[in-house]
């Protein structure tokens, strides 16, 4: 009959209206600043720089290779290489970024910088409250704001961080084994030829 559907619809909305006052399950709204939902593991918002250990300047994984800067589609990463070098996680001396800025207003959260980074140094953060009242300085996140510890990374993306750690440990072990083998070979060589000075490989390593 004509009008039947309208009455059914009216009953449905009336049920919703009354039900929203009675049952809390109906109201799915999270009243944001007071209430929050835990960030989802797979979510990504804005990149950050991972560092190992306690000191961010010493432990920064980034070696300022500038691959992310070149690959970034909207070109929002600005890197300046350092003049001096510092040892990385395997102990190899590397240059580090003297300046590393990412523009929040330009970044489009595409994660390409993360994909291309060969050093596992840049990862995606879940923090989304990046709004600021300073639209020039405040939107350009600098190195010290971007640096976050490996523990933090484990906190927000546990599975991904565990994989990364395993991979890095494997690489480190490989490098160490290689160094050990090289050292042994050098030692053997030195033993075979006592005329050449033994300090040479050691000096090269420390440089």
């Amino acid at each position: 009959m004509l009008g039947e559907g309208i009455l059914k619809g009216l009953a449905e909305t009336a049920k919703n209206f009354a039900g929203s006052y009675v049952s809390k399950e109906r109201l799915t709204t999270v009243q944001y600043p007071e209430e929050r939902v835990a960030p989802i593991e797979a979510s990504r918002v804005f990149p950050f720089l991972v560092y190992d250990g306690g000191d961010w300047q010493a432990g920064l994984r980034c070696v300022a290779c500038q691959i992310c800067e070149k690959e970034c589609p909207p070109k929002c990463i600005y890197i300046e290489k350092s003049k001096d070098k510092k040892p990385d996680y395997v102990g190899k001396p590397q240059i580090y970024p003297a300046r590393f800025d990412i523009d929040v207003s330009v970044c489009m959260s595409c994660q390409i910088c993360v994909e291309v980074c060969p050093f596992e140094a840049i990862k995606m953060d879940t923090e989304f409250e990046l709004a600021t009242d300073d639209r020039f300085g405040g939107l350009l996140r600098s190195r010290d704001q971007l640096a976050k510890s490996n523990e933090y990374y484990h906190g927000i993306h546990p599975t991904e961080a565990a994989e990364v750690d395993a991979r890095l440990a494997e690489e480190k072990a490989k490098v160490e084994a290689k160094a050990k083998a090289a050292a042994e070979a050098a030692a053997a060589k030195a033993a075979a030829e006592p005329a050449t000075p033994a300090a040479k490989p050691a000096g090269g390593e420390s440089k």
């Binding site: 009959m1 004509l2 619809g9 009216l10 909305t13 919703n16 209206f17 929203s20 109201l27 709204t29």
Partner: protein, 391 residues
């Protein structure tokens, strides 16, 4: 004491009138009444907007606005400040004068209707003999302002919205008028005051409102539907149609002019619901004989707010119609039904007292509704329809 509460505003007006010299008394009284109307309805408008936003939210299982003040009660204040401080943008090629006049004409026209509306016992600004005619004349002149707004904006969406609005308002004015003609037939008067008086008596504690008769109920339903279309409320909000033509005829309005349009729309809604209440729901009379001690103006405004709540409920339920569905419904269902209702009212009048007229009139109204609904739905002119490419 209760008598005083009932006549509170009338006594207040007379008291202020007594303070000024005799020559100024009439003018003072009129100015007071006008100021009261202009103060009360925008306040109700703010209340209705809050009610609508909260009610719609609850119907969609959301909270609605709850940030400004306790329970979001000051939301209308924030909205008002926002619209007042916004920049007033006028399109470069717009007809500046007409663009400026359109919202003013709308607000003036919708407020004029309240001049003859009885809002309580002895609470009517102008006691006019043909007040129903006056209300309809004022209601029809809002079409002019809508078209002025659409035409002067020089915007395709505005013009489309204005065209839709005019087509819709003219189509639904016919059933709106015809559904209230039955009341004129029964009371034999065009005066709204007399219509309320005719409904203000009780038998077995129940009132003689016109909605409690077969022709009155049919007329009431038609009136509600036509009133929704007249005030461009959902599901008849094609002239605005946010998802299709942005905001229709007020696309190019911003700031305070936009707020005036918004105000005009809601005050128009109050006007038409006040008229509906007066025609079918006994105006300011109480719903039960034992409640007649409650002040009459409380009943009037309570009924109007209930009507508004029903509008909000319908808005939260029904999707927007399409233009051809709208026109089919107006001309192929509403018009024949209202015409038939005139006949039923005449039958009621000439069949005399007794159960026979109840049976015959109910049978005719229900029979016609079922029959027309069935044929209309079979032909696919009204009712639900399937969309070949959308489903």
């Amino acid at each position: 004491m209760l008598e005083k509460a009932d006549q509170l505003f009338v006594l207040l007006q007379h008291w202020v009138m007594g303070l000024v010299p005799a020559a100024w008394q009439t003018a003072t009284g009129i100015v007071l009444a006008v100021v009261a109307i202009i103060a009360v309805y925008p306040t109700l408008f703010a209340l209705a907007v809050l009610l609508e936003r909260k009610g719609l939210g609850r119907m969609q299982n959301r909270y609605g606005p709850n940030r400004v003040g306790p329970f979001g009660l000051f939301q209308p204040v924030a909205d008002g400040i926002k619209s007042l401080t916004k920049e007033d943008v006028v399109p470069f090629r717009a007809d500046t004068l007409v663009h400026f006049l359109a919202p003013l004409v709308l607000v003036v026209a919708v407020f004029m209707g309240f001049a003859v509306l009885p809002m309580g016992r002895n609470m009517v600004l102008v006691d006019m003999d043909a007040s129903l005619l006056f209300v309809f004349a004022m209601g029809a002149s809002t079409e002019l302002s809508v078209f002025m707004a659409g035409w002067s904006s020089r915007n395709k969406y505005s013009l489309l919205g204005a065209m839709r609005a005019v087509a819709q308002m003219i189509s639904y004015e016919v059933p709106l008028l015809l559904s209230s003609v039955v009341i004129v037939m029964m009371t034999g008067s065009l005066s709204l005051e007399k219509m309320v008086e005719a409904q203000n008596h009780y038998s077995y504690g129940l009132p003689h409102w016109y909605v409690f008769t077969p022709w009155g109920l049919a007329g009431f339903v038609m009136f509600v539907i036509a009133a929704m279309a007249e005030t461009n409320r959902s599901p008849f909000d094609l002239p605005e149609g946010e998802s299709e033509i942005i905001a229709g005829y007020f696309t190019e309005y911003s700031g305070f002019k936009f707020a005036l349009f918004f105000l005009g729309e809601y005050v128009g809604m109050f006007g038409i619901s006040g008229l509906g209440v007066t025609l079918f729901l006994g105006g300011w009379t109480a719903p039960f004989a034992f409640l007649t001690w409650v002040p009459s103006w409380i009943w009037f405004f309570g009924k109007v707010m209930l009507w508004i709540c029903f509008f909000i409920w319908v808005r939260g339920t029904l999707p927007r119609l399409r233009q051809d569905q709208l026109m089919n419904f107006a001309w192929k269902f509403m018009l024949p039904m209202t015409l038939l209702n005139l006949l039923v009212a005449a039958m009621w009048r000439f069949m005399g007292e007794g159960w026979l007229r109840w049976a015959v009139c109910t049978a005719v109204v229900v029979g016609a509704y079922v029959l027309m609904g069935r044929t209309g739905m079979r032909r696919g002119q009204i009712g639900p329809r399937s969309y070949r490419y959308a489903e």
